[in-house]
């Protein structure tokens, strides 16, 4: 299908800039980490928005809450960037 276009927009969550949004596509994490991410609202299909980038962790908005995620963890979250 439109795999080519999709792939071009697929980035790791830590590659988004502040105020950029994406839809979670895949969690490339182990079982425990995947569960924790899901419980906190980061599931495939969820919309996430990067609010802030610190020295290491980032702050994202998802499901009406603000979550701080370490850089290593954010790099395991694949998102489809939403172009505005």
């Amino acid at each position: 299908m439109d795999a080519g276009v999709g792939l071009m927009n697929k980035v790791r969550l830590n590659e988004l800039k502040p105020h950029e949004e994406g839809v979670v596509v895949e969690l490339m994490a182990g079982k425990g980490l995947t569960r924790r991410l899901c419980e906190m609202g980061i599931v495939p299909g969820a919309r996430v928005k990067v609010l802030l980038i610190g020295h290491g962790p980032i702050v994202v908005e998802t499901m009406g809450s603000r979550i701080a995620i370490g850089k290593g963890m954010a790099s395991k979250i694949l998102v489809e960037k939403i172009r505005k």
Binding site: E39, V43, I67
Partner: protein, 648 residues
Amino acid sequence: MRTDTPQTQIRKSGVRIALIGNPNVGKTTLFNELTGANQSIGNWPGVTVEKKEGVFVHKGVRVEVVDLPGLYGFGSDSVAEKIARDYLINEKPDVVVDIVDASNLMRNLYLTLLLLEMDVNVIVVLNMFDEATKSMKIDVDMLSELLGVPVVPTVAKRGEGIGELKDAILKEAGKSRRSFVGYGEDVETIITKIEQELDNLPKTIPPRWVALKLLEGDEEIKEIVGEVRLEDMPNIRGDVILAQRRYEAIRNILRLCVEKKGERWKITDRIDKLILHKYLGYPIFLIILWGAFVFSYRASAPISDLIDSFFSILGEYSSSYLSGTVGSFVSGAIISGLGSVLVFIPPIFFVFFVIAVLEDTGYMARVAFLMDRAMGVVGLSGKSFIPLVLGFGCNVPAIMATRTIESQRERILTILINPLMSCSARLPVYVLIAGVFFRENAGTVIFSMYLLGILLAMVLSVVFGRSVLRGAPSPFIIELPPYRIPSVKTVLMATWTRGKHFLEKAGTVIFGVVILAWYLSSYPTGTIEGSYLAQIGQFLSPLMEPLGFDWRITSALLMGFLAKEAVVGTLGVLYGTELSTALSASIDPVSAYAFMAFTLLYVPCVAAMAVVRQETASWKWTAFVILYELLLAYTVALFIVLIGRLIF
């Protein structure tokens, strides 16, 4: 209305309920509102997770409340989550009160759905309902109907809705309610198939829950029931699919009963732009930290001094009236023992007060965000930072503050290195020695002690993290709650329950050791010079000779085991009134510096040790702290002496 038989039964035996909810939903405030002062705090058996219990009586029925840890789900790989799930499955409380943040239903109801899967009797509390109604309209009755459980709106910090909640608890107790949210036809077929495979399951464990846990790949459940193999088991990631379907179900529910009419995050986002700013965030943090520090120690010092002088006057007074052994015991053991416990109270209560304020405003989570990177360098996460900084004031509340660290490994690690943060009780020793031996450079010398402590803490964190506490650093993920004005009641209650816990547990240990110290320093001769303490000091002095310490310094260090302030006092007694002249005559500056380092590093005081034992729930770790610190102190002091002798 049904028959009132279950109700009569309840009245006889009382009702047991559990409180559960995500962090930052006001669970503690609600717990306080329900139980008032009738609560106790302890640990869950065998682990170091805090357990809070309380009781209230409503309409003649006694209700026991257990406050479960704040959590997002029920994995078997997290200690707190496993405790909660074992409790719910095995102990079967009559009612489980699920507290949700009314403004954030989307995420909070996820836990509610997990609870419904466990076949527990749920009441949903929509807490902070006032805050929520500012930005949305919630149809409470509709929500209750869709979830299939009672829903009670509350504003816990103002006591609103508590009466209604208590009524609902009594009404629900004794009922067994089954309600669950469907996962869609395809997933439900698989669930039913797995359920059919589970034939020899104990009656107490709901088969649907086990089926779901197996689908999620839960390790513990797999071990219990064994791998269930389905012939046409689709190749899917069960955990992700179930999570997606749960959020879908919640979205469908909320579509029918919530109407958004505003944005609640405006102010928080604006404050965070500054507080979490890449560069400005740090100076702001330093100012807040410094302020908190100065406040808690300035505010407590006069009260501590007052207690101290009160007890010394009392001691003198009693020794002038009572003589002989009785007098010595009353003034030397009872009064000074009680005094040394009570002197700790003001700083501990003020530190807990400051922590409670910072937690309740939502700033604590931001500190973890700011410091995560820096702490990562030594193998810890941002959550370890505050407990370490608090150690500069007093290690006792600092070690207790490690309770906010979820990862057990990182928590123990933070406890192990905490005594290296130079607490305020060690300052009198530095001031005395630096004043006598390093007059012009006293400030720099004292500062070097703090640096030495920090440096060694960093090194040992890395060393321990790669030896005795091996393991991967826990991934950093933390919710940032909206900023809130702290509630006076919540803050005071948190300060009080924590402080009381310290008094009960650590107080008894400290008191016992104080009595022992009195015995050692006044027997057999009645004077400190001929006492067992002096004898032990003399016995140990060959060991301390390479450091240049004489038996008096050794004895003083022994007394410092009690409280590091005691070092100066004991030196005063042993050297007589002309302390500074006598000191400079008996040791050289190099040994004096080594003595300061030794005081910084050797065994934490007895209060700190009692709290290490309490928080790690392990004598092994307590012994480990004592041994490594003694070894470290001796090695570092010897190093200082050897290098110092070469140079000077």
